[in-house]
């Protein structure tokens, strides 16, 4: 029996390490649970966190905007498609604020505040953005590539998702869904 202790211990340690490796790989896997839920029609509650507003001494969150339609857009100054889609988001923001229906809320992703502010200035961004330092909010949305856009209805549910550069057709369709 004593002779078996060492091999058994070695096997347990080896199995533990393999299990740990498997867990590590699985936890890094892409999380597409939000779009799967949206595709089924089960609009999931939008993850929320109070984050610092870019260029202001304040915080903002999706939860605080309950009752309004929110177009949540993850962006960064170093992201080329983000620059391309910025005018579409700006138009959507103007439409939403003019009707009082909602807002576009940007979330910066792995970007420094000075670079984000320069980008916002260059693209004429008038909508607010929050800084997700450490990408904790992004992780809850399954975001690991940008740009990504989530459209949230007045009840705080995600009704549409687009991972990549949006176009006008997406925004029109998603806003109609959110305002329905």
């Amino acid at each position: 029996m004593k002779r078996l202790i060492a091999p058994i211990l070695a096997a347990v340690v080896a199995l533990g390490l393999v299990g740990l490796l498997a867990y590590g790989l699985m936890s890094k896997a892409e999380d597409d649970s939000i779009e799967q839920a949206v595709a089924r029609g089960d609009f999931p509650p939008a993850p929320s966190a109070a984050l610092p507003v870019l260029g202001a001494d304040a915080t903002q969150s999706v939860a605080a905007l309950r009752g309004k339609v929110v177009v949540l857009n993850f962006w960064a100054s170093w992201c080329v498609p983000c620059r391309t889609e910025a005018p579409i988001l700006e138009r959507a923001h103007k439409r939403l604020t003019a009707s009082g229906a909602g807002t576009v809320l940007g979330v910066t992703y792995n970007d420094s505040a000075p670079a984000s502010l320069r980008f916002a200035d260059q693209t004429g961004m008038s909508f607010p953005s929050v800084r997700d330092v450490g990408t904790k909010l992004a992780e809850r949305y399954g975001t690991n590539r940008i740009p990504e856009t989530f459209v949230i209805d007045r009840a705080g549910r995600v009704v549409d998702v687009f991972r990549g550069q949006i176009d006008q057709a997406f925004i029109d369709r998603a806003l109609a869904k959110a305002r329905a």
């Binding site: 390490l17 936890s27 960064a76 080329v80 970007d111 420094s112 330092v133 990408t135």
Partner: protein, 169 residues
């Protein structure tokens, strides 16, 4: 008196002239390479000095700005954490699966120590049972007269025979 005053003023002037140089010498000079190999590209998860792309380039631009502003390496790393979060430091996370990076070396260390504690006494006992001393193994000579192992007559005869055959070649 006036000569002493001149000497004091000259010494003061020399000290003032040397002060900025001394201050510069005291503050270690930082360059991009110094910082790059100690921080991570937050978007790609690899060291910044090996990362390529728009995001790592934007990190490098920030580091260059901070260097130009005269920040020390510690201040630059602090600012990078403020801008990008703790992941920018090349350290494992202290929560979730990342904690195993700290735990596994401790567990493996404990296993190695436990194994040594168990096995070393056995290894030390084993030679004592097999032979009289290390001297026997190396020279074949007995370590002491008491421990001598004499050849049997048959073995001695065989050895003599072999040696004679060897010498006869």
């Amino acid at each position: 008196m006036s000569r002493a005053l001149v000497l004091v003023l000259a010494a003061l002037a020399v000290a003032l002239a040397a002060a900025p140089g001394a201050a510069l010498a005291a503050a270690p000079k930082v360059d991009l390479i110094d910082v790059e190999d100690e921080v991570m590209c937050v978007d790609c998860g690899i060291p910044l000095n090996t990362a390529e792309g728009a995001q790592p380039d934007s990190m490098r631009a920030l580091i260059r700005d901070l260097i130009a502003q005269g920040h020390t390496k510690a201040q630059i790393k602090q600012e990078l954490v403020a801008q990008y979060g703790e992941d920018v430091l090349a350290l494992p996370e202290t929560e979730g699966v990342g904690i195993t990076a700290y735990a596994i070396p401790l567990v493996l260390g404990a296993i190695v120590v436990a194994t040594l504690v168990l096995l070393v006494p056995r290894w030390r006992r084993r030679p004592a049972a097999g032979m009289t001393s290390a001297g026997d193994e190396i020279t074949g000579a007995p370590a002491s007269p008491d421990s001598a192992r004499e050849l049997s007559e048959a073995d001695a005869a065989r050895l003599d025979e072999d040696l004679a055959r060897y010498d006869g070649r």
